[in-house]
Structures are given as C-alpha cells and as structure tokens.
C-alpha cells in the first residue's frame, strides 16, 4: 500500500457531542484501565499526569449568573497533517520513527520501545495529547495483576498517548480473519474504550470513509480541501460540527458537535469579526 492509495483504507475517527458530555470522567477511567495507564501519589499537577483522554472544562467567560460550562474530552486527535497526507505534527518530527501514520487506518501510532524520549513530538502537538513517562510506572503490590496483556506497560523516559485503542482493532481484525472476512471490520467490533464507557453516549466512533458508519453520517466529511485553506481537508459539512484548531491544518480525526455557538467558537482562534463571517461556512457544497 502506498501513501496515495487511500481507496481501501479505513479512516477511523470520532465525534464527541459536547452537549451530551457531562464531564463525568468515565471515558478517562475507562481509557486508563483499558490501556494500563499508571497512577502515582499526586496526580493534581495535570502537567505531569498521564491521561490519554483528558476532559477540559470550558467556560463562556461571563460572570454570575450568566456563566456557562461545557466539557471537552480530548483524546489524541490522530491528525492527518497538512492536506491530510499523513504528516501529522508529531509524526513528521519524531527523529527515530517511533510514531508513524497508518495509511491503512488513519491512526497515529506510538511505539514505546522505539521512542527514546526526546519529547519533540510533545512540543509539536498543539493538543497536549502526548504524555511523557517522567517516572517508572509502579502499582501497589498485587495491583499489577489487573493489567491487560493487550497493551504493553510503558517504561519511564518515553512518550505515550491515545492509540484509539488500536489493540481492539487488532482483535477485531483477528476475529475477521477467523471468520474469513478480513477486509471488513464491523462497526461494532471496533469501538474504543472511551466510546463504549460513555454513559451519555456522547462519543461516536467509526470509519469516516464509510457512509454506513454513524461518524460519517454525523460529520459528513468534505472530501475536498477547504478552498480558503488548502491544508484543511475533511472539514465537516454539518454546521454544528467543528474540529480543534482546524485552521492549523493538522486535520484531526476527532470532531466535536455542539448546538452552542460559544462552545464551537472555543474550538479555534479567531481575529475580531472573523467568527461572524465564517461560523456558518462548513465545507464545500458541491458534493452531497
């Protein structure tokens, strides 16, 4: 498979309904227990606390009683990079090829045993989705027995991040092989741990390339580059859907949905007056 052959490739993505998200934290814990994420005595310094899925609190900045809050869960955005060519901000900078872009799935990998901990990828990622293992992971005596063999525990001195629960894709692929249909992973056979855990069903996961999948139906990704910024590909044609920092051209595969304008506006930076001009412009209209 070459870089340009996207035809048979999956493009796994996610859409998170911020109006449904309650900030309850199920996705975070589900992710941690699924992926053998360690914990330490003090996790209140959020800048050295490993949470592949992190829920940010957004406020509208108004004073009492007009204040509003929204929660924004932020997994790794699995950026397709400028023009969606696979040169994600992190992938392109890793000196040792410890992270790559899977053109077959659209998933950005992180190989713990290859990474030597230069942290360049962390600097390059505007979403702070990458975490460094400042400490050796340690579990209280006996607790390491709950670790899952599907995800290898990390060692100190390396970077880790959300993998879209890739091991679940591996398992789904194994199952598909067994049942003789290796080219078709069923939507329900590959769902991330945060998606299945969310008690509000705020998270939808699936193949953005597959019109039968719910993510595709909600996002309606535009296959054409944004005419005003050719780096941006896959913009949603749903006016209520946005991506984080879309203008940077990182082309994330995580989309957000909200009815609230102030929430959508927090997805990116806008110069004065800019928002009003572009808030309702989403994608090209040529293809339905």
């Amino acid at each position: 498979m070459t870089q340009d052959n996207h035809n048979n490739a999956y493009k796994f993505g996610m859409v998170i309904d911020l109006d449904k998200c309650t900030g309850c934290g199920s996705c975070m814990v589900s992710c941690m227990s699924e992926n053998n994420v360690p914990f330490k005595e003090d996790e209140s310094n959020k800048r050295d606390s490993i949470t592949w899925m992190r829920v940010y609190k957004l406020t509208n900045g108004k004073s009492f009683p007009d204040t509003e809050i929204a929660y924004l869960p932020r997994p790794c955005q699995h950026c397709g990079g400028e023009g969606d060519h696979g040169h994600s901000p992190c992938v392109s900078v890793c000196p040792a090829t410890a992270t790559d872009y899977g053109y077959d799935t659209g998933i950005v990998s992180q190989i713990y045993t290859r990474c030597f901990g230069c942290r360049y990828c962390m600097g390059a990622c505007p979403y702070h989705a990458r975490y460094f293992n400042w400490w050796d992971p340690k579990w209280p005596e006996g607790m390491e027995k709950y670790l899952s063999p599907d995800v290898s525990p990390r060692m100190r001195g390396i970077v880790e991040k959300c993998s879209f629960c890739y091991h679940r894709y591996q398992a789904a692929r194994d199952k598909a092989y067994y049942h003789g249909d290796k080219d078709h992973i069923k939507e329900e056979d590959y769902q991330t741990a945060c998606t299945t855990a969310c008690p509000s069903n705020a998270i939808t996961f699936g193949d953005l390339n597959n019109p039968a999948h719910k993510v595709h139906q909600i996002v309606k990704p535009d296959p054409h580059p944004d005419p005003r910024n050719h780096h941006v590909v896959g913009k949603s044609r749903n006016p209520k859907v946005f991506r984080l920092l879309e203008r940077l051209g990182t082309n994330p595969k995580v989309y957000y949905l909200s009815e609230r304008e102030w929430v959508r506006k927090q997805g990116d930076h806008y110069l004065e007056g800019e928002w009003d001009k572009i808030k309702n412009h989403h994608g090209t209209t040529s293809h339905g």
Partner: protein
Amino acid sequence: MQSATRKKQATKVIVSSVTSKNQKHETLNFNGELYMKVDRRSFLGLGLGAVAGVAVSPVGLKLTDDSSIWTQNWPWTPVPVDGRVNYEKSVCSLCPGSCGISVRKIDNRPVKIEGLSDYPVNDGGACLHGIAGLQYLYDPARVKTPLKKNGDKFEKISWNDAIALIAEKLKGIRTEGTPEKLACITDKDQGSVSGLFRRLLETFGSSEFYTMPSLESYLELTASTFHGKGNTIAFDLENANFVLSFGAGIIEGWGSPVACFKANASRKERHAKLYQIEPRLSNTAANADKWIPVNPGTEADLALGLCAVILKNNLFDGSATINFMGGFNKFNAMLKRDYSLSKTAKITGIKASEIEKTAKMFAKAKKPVAVFGKGRGDGAQSLKELAAVHMLNCLVGNINKKGGVFVKPVSQYLNFPSQSMDRVADAGFGKNKTGSTVNQLFEKIDKSAQPLIEALFVYNANPGYNLHDSKRVKKTLDKIPFKVSFSSLLDETAMLCDIILPNHTFMERIEDVPSGAGFAKTVVGLSKPIIKPLLNTKHPGDSVILIAKALGGNVAKSFEWANYDQCLESVTSNIWSPLSKRGFVVISKGVPAYRPLVNVSFLAQNPATINAKGDYALTLIPIDNMRLINTGTASSPFAVKTVSDTVIKGKDIVVEINPLTAIGLKDKGFATLTTPLGKARVKININEGMMPGVIGMVRGLGHTFDNKYVSNIGVNINDLIGQVIEPGSGLDAAFGIKAKLVAA
C-alpha cells in the same frame, strides 16, 4: 641478533595472549615490561590488532543493541500474562445505582470492568467508579484477615476466635437481659445481607437497626409521609419532558447514576427540558436548559412558592386533588399567607417573574416532574423540603403517570422463613428504638450518661467519616464498649472498632443487588464472584450466619442455612431460577396501576425551615462531584486522578467562591475556612459559577486510612458542618453551615 631476540619475545607475547586469557594481569605486566624492550611499533601493532579484532567482532554492536533492548524490557516493568479472553456478567454494588457489569478476564484474571449491554438499569454505560472497581480489589487499605484491637493496635486473629469472641460478648449482653443494647448500622435495608443483619438483631432481641442517610431512605420517608408506610418513590426521568430539579445532581451521581446519565442524554432527542435550581453552577446546572440560582437552604420555600403560584392560577390538576386528604384548604391558606410571590422572591433570591414563569411552565408541561435530593441526594435533607417538592408533583397530578412520579410499594422479593423468637428476644425487640434515624441515635448516645448501646455492628457504613460533625461521631462511637466492623477496607469507623471481620469485595462474592434510589423500574441483579477471594476474608452473610450459630438458642435456629449461598438461594426462591440464569430479574416496570392517596397534613402545618448554623457572613455548602465518591469508601486512585486541580491541588482541598465575595482572597491562594465547628486550611478557586456569599467544598476527601493514593488529601467537610436535627422527622437537615474565609 637483535631481531632474533625480538622475534623470540614477540612469540612469547603471542603465547601469553592466547594462554593467559584468564590471567589478564600477567599479560599486562608482561606487556608493560616489553614496552621498554620491544620497539614501539610492535607494541602498537599488538594493541591495535587486539582493539581492531574486538571492534570488528559483533560484540560491540550486540552489546549496544542489547543494552537498548534491556531498557525496553526492564525487569521492574510488569509484563501482563496473556491468555484466553472471556467475559463474565455481574452487578456492581459500589453505589445504590446497581449497574450491570461485564468483566473482561484473561484466563481467571479480571482485567477490565465495563458496563453490561442490555442490562435494564444502565444498558452498557458505566460510571468511572464502577470501571475502576478492580482497584478496590487490590486496594492497599484492604483488611487482609480478621483483626482484633489491642490497645491502639490491631492484631491478627483467626476467624474462629473472632466469631467466638463476638458471640461471647453478645451472650453477655443477652444474659443481662438487655438485648436491645445491640445495634447495627448498614448502608441500606434492602437485600438479603441487610436482611440477615436485621434478622440477627430481631432474634437476638433488638430493634436498633439503622441505615445511613441515603436517597432511598428519603424516598421512603417522603412516600410514607404522603402516601402511607411501606411505599417508595421513583422518578420516570427517561420519559418526563420537563424536569424541575431542586438541586438534584442528575449527572453528578444522584439516584442510579448511569440510568440518570442516560435519561439526561436522551433529552436532546426527546426535546425534554431540564431546569436546575441550586446556588452553584454544577455540571447538572451547566447541562440544563436553565439554571436558577437559589439562596442555599431555601429550596423548600421556593417549592412552596411555586405551589402557591400554581394554586393561585388554578393550574393544578383538579382530578388529582380528589385523592388529597389532611387539610388541602389549610395548606392553600398557609401558602397564601406565607408564600406570596414577593415573599418567596425575597427568601429565595429569585425574581418574582422568574418564579411565576417557572411555575407556569411546570404546571403546563405535558409530563412534568419535580425532583428532590440535593447533590447526590444522600446528604442532609429536611422533610419539609422533600415534601414541598413532592407536593408540586401531587399538584400537577403526575403521580403514577408516564414521565411522572411512581409511587409503589417497597419491593419485597425476599422470603425469609419465619424466625424463632424466645422470651428475651420478644421483650427486647418490643422496646422502642433509641432514635428514628442514625443521627438521632448518635445524638442520644452522646447526650446520655448511661451506655444506651453496648454493642454495635457496622456493615457497609462509615458513620465516623460520613455523618456531620464526624469528630463528635467518632467520640460517640468510643462510648460504645464493643464494636464490630464488617468492612473490606480499614476505614475511619473500622479503625475505631474492636473486631474487624473483613468482607469479600463485590468482585469476590455472590449477592442479590436490588435497584433503588428513585429508579423507575424495580430490578434485582445478581452480583457474582468474578475472582476467588484474594485474602482471608468472608462473605458478610457468612459472617452473620456464623455469629448466629455461635450464639445458639433461638438465634441459631433462625439461621439454619449451611452458608450464605444456600441462604440466598432459599430466600430468593421466587426469582432464583431467572436470577441465576439471566443475572437479573425485572420485578416491576412501567407505570404502577394504583392511585395513591395524598396526605398533605405535614405541609399544611407549615413546618419550620431549618437554617444553617452559626452567624458568619458566608455559607459553606457541600459539592457533590461525580468523580469523587462521598460515602464511606474513598474513591479509587483512577477516580482521584481524574479530579481537576480546581478541586484537589497537591494535598490541599480547593474551595469555590464567587469573585464578588472573594475580597482579599487570591485565586489559587490559601485561606483559612472557619465554621462554628472548626477551621481548615483551603485553597481558593475563584469561580463565576458560584453564587455570591456561598463557599462550595467538595464531599469525599479527607480520608485518613492507609492508601497514599486517595487518603490524607484535603479535609472532610463533615468535620466542619454540625448536624441540625429537624424536629419530627429526626433528619439531620444541616445542608450547610455559616462560615468565614480569611486569606492565610
């Protein structure tokens, strides 16, 4: 001549380098000597040759590679063992939510808890505490074996000795003819294990069976106040189209949390509205269609004010009032007198127009429901507030209608065989209970000079942490001469007990788990042992049976099961077959058929509103945060990890305050919080979502047991709030307390 000597020496060098590999020193010495004799070039040749030889060999490359691979397989990084993946169904009993769970196992090792699809409560969803459930299994603070207190320390004791010791103490109490001096505190009165404790007390001769304050207990109290004893209340949130919540943290763990999350999430598709009334912009308030900030502690007044608007405008359901009794006119007159729009507006701090609008919207909604139980619904409440809110439901006639309130009898799915009572048991059981609630029990023990209670069983409850003025509660516990804890963890109350009989955790035991806490359906689930007990623990049911057997006489006769497993099968015989096969039984779903009477006499007297204690300028109120457990157990390390740094920072607790009231206080700065009960060092979070004049502090921190990941963080808010007992109901109605905050 010279060259010949050199050759000879050179040969020696070769020989030595071949033969004396193990005698490096000699070779070196030899070489050293040679240096002076053999010319520089020969020596250089030899040395360079050796270096080049090793360099060209794969040794260097291999060692470089291996050392890097070593860092990839550090022996201190655990390697999880692989095996066959299998899933087991069970029910989570960490909270009253009773969600179905699916446990992923590798061979026999549980590795992940997930929500169980198609389970009637949670249908696949799960909360963070349930998902982190495995951390409780391996909790460092677990009690590993029965313990006996000796002075200040615990020592190990065998199960046999522990049971014998308890039986001996209890027999002593019975011999003295005061069996009523045995009391028991549990978390709930539903389910077979609570049933066994209650049965033990009754056959022993005591009616002193208490449950900790919980939403379920408030629901039953409200139902019995309005609709007669033996009833409970449930809210059909998933069908209601206008939810008027009086601070109920619908997405903060209120009721059956996951079921509530689901009902709330479906609001968007159903076009249902949620109005949230509370002083703080909680997550529920933020997620609601409208947030109505109300002065803390005036929710009851607001509800009555809304009732007044509805009555005044004739917006109530006339057909519903047919069932009203106990002085509806008197109630109406009271409202007119005490809850005019302007008065209500003044008390609650809400604009009159807003009150009027809300009342009208509520009354005109198709399927309105008013929900009570501030926060998670298990904190302090007054019956006045519960009743006032419920009155709204009664007025709009949504009782036992789809999308309304379900009034139904408390589920009685258990069939205990009749118990054997002797003379002592009858006499003791016939005596009056010391208090109507556990708060009252402690107050009476505290105030009494004589020991009212000689022995106490504590199961699944942590009054020493969880009740207001917990320091006083701990002192009161000290006044009870003999205390037995049935706990998995060495929690605050267990630490004060004389004997600890450690329980299997919910992952290790079988148990019937009934749903409750206002959930519309009545479901009984079966919690199953997912893993063999890790430690020397027992099923609490087995512990009770063993104690009963050791007591002998009529008590033993009432516990003729070989073990808890047998007991469970027999007491659930009506439903055992589907329960054991499917893992759950739906006892009732849909709208209850009957139309209960509505007794308004309690409200008609206009009971007094309970005010916060003290006379400081600010009011401290508790915050229920979904990511922290606020009952006796501490949250899991994962849950604590998710908590924002605006709640916990380092070991400090952070309190919320509006910028208008934060005069002299800096965001992220330290302050001393003072209430009539004590002081605490806190960090400040200046938050626009908090009503001016109010300080918010999270519940669930300040644990003191031995788990460094979750304990000794922040303060326990219950240390700072003193209880205020509502006359009549006996409830601790002190939702908050007056406080001051000074920069430290």
